[in-house]
Amino acid sequence: MELAFFQNLTLGFNVAFQWINLLYCLIGVLLGTLIGVLPGIGPVATIAMLLPITFNLSPLCALIMLAGIYYGAQYGGSTTSILVNIPGEAASVVTCLDGYQMARKGKAGPALATAAIGSFFAGCVSTIIVAMFAPPLANIALKFGPAEYFSLMFFGLVAAIVLAHGSLLKAIAMVLLGLLFGLVGTDVSSGEIRFTFGIYELADGIGFVTLAMGLFGVSEIIANLQAKEGREVFTRKVGRLMLSKNEFHRVWKAILRGTAFGSILGILPGGGPVLASFGAYALEKKVSPYSSEFGQGAIEGVAAPEAANNAAAQSSFIPLLTLGIPSNAVMALMIGAMMIQGIIPGPKVVSDKPELFWGLIASMWIGNAMLVILNLPLIGIWIRLLTVPYRFLYPSILVFMAIGVYSLSNSPFDVLLMTLFGILGHIFAKLECEPAPLILGFILGPMMEENLRRALLLSRGDPFVLITKPISASFLIAALALLIIVFAPAIRQKREEVFVEDQ
């Protein structure tokens, strides 16, 4: 076992160090940092935009690049949070609180260094966690039948609802709507074509990229254009980048706590970097001996959330690689990317495609190393990029989206559909309905239907099969417990308080 682990890692590094994979890793992390720095465009929209392009890459290159964008964005987002008080990315909103205060006190350098070191440490640890826990988990998952899968996905969706921002009821409704959108197209079991209104382009279903780009990309642009453009950029001296002994002493525990917290939250469905960073900040504020300094430039307030968001970005690959189930919107896109390449995400990936699995994991470590080496020297460039006004940015984003979506099936229809989802997404934004649960439902819809059908077919229509099988039953009980907990009045109030912080 021990030996196999190192053999596997060696295989992974051998693959990841091939120059083409290194190149795409570099492209990925650079792009990720770039969009992390630029406000108004996040990893979901970027990965959705680039999905059509990955048709032409090898599966490993595609996944390495997309993964790089995802965790690269966590690094980039912190830079602007600290220097200009603008979170480039949702997961670095809390970094603004103390990071910017540090910068105002002339400690921008230590703040940036803390963010980079915290992210790097968390990235390394959670990469090892993925490498250690994913294969045994995949082994367990291999024994899952349709009943277990259905209940697992049910649990996943419930967790996504619980962890979604805002109203629980709306999140449930969004998941249901997503599940329904997922069913559009040809029904796998009966061959019947559903909900297409005779439009033949819909026979294959609504394209995932089309939906994601509409809901996240187009609606984001429309929303940004409605807000006033008020971005000020002050380029100030960054100062020394090294941490003093005292600072280092204060930081390391916070980084450890952030890493642990983020790694766990990343695995949970609906979790991910955003929630991890908020949670880690709140936790750190409670346990730190310097909690009175929080909000006025406490270095722990930078270290903990930055470690947590990167750890979560990494560990959210675990459910994807072992169960084939996405834990957040970006992972849902990764599933899309794997399917484009003809890889069925699930427990078999580890055993059938070891070079893909281990190569991806090794590339994450390499990518993290690249980020920490590249990021600090490149800070000047990233700041200058911030001065690019949004009026140049959004036509450029439009070009990417339009070409990307058009090329999906080489027809105008997908662009039309994306535009419609953009309008729908904008309406949802106005009504404060989070689109992330919808995306998860959309991906899981067909899989859930398929597994439910098979489970009930095997049991001859007896729904109790879902609770007589122990693994399936435990997922359902866990889901039920989650629901009861969040709907309990006391906790509900607490939950709302937690989410108010990020408004």
Partner: protein
Amino acid sequence: MFRIHNPKEFGSGLIFIFFGIFFALISLNYRLGTAARMGPGYFPLMLSIFLSLMGGIILLRSLITKGEGIMRIKFQPLIFITLSLLLFAYLLPLLGLVLALGIMIITSVFAGLKFHFKEVLFLCVLLIIFAVFVFVKGLGLPFLLWPKFLN
């Protein structure tokens, strides 16, 4: 006089009910089957009934709770962004990538923020050159570059 105190919830409820009923009605056209042998209509009908129920609960709750009003939708960005994308998509097969992109970028400019003529021109040229080299020459996407009637 009947007044809505929580318009965001009220609106959300309405949308969910609409989609719920919409999908439910279509599902009824498909064979339902039994739990043991589900037809294509079974699962979607179940989901859409739940969705309508959720919508109903959200709607009812909106009548007894209070909340902020919905921010007014500014139609200018909405219309011009939508229009620019659609123009691109439907003109591309006729006019080719270069012109379709140009038209899209120029249309998108009207979506809101201030623009100077020279900037727009510069942006157009830059983005078109980039798109032609990266997407057509580099990635080999099968796009027409110039209008059909010129070829």
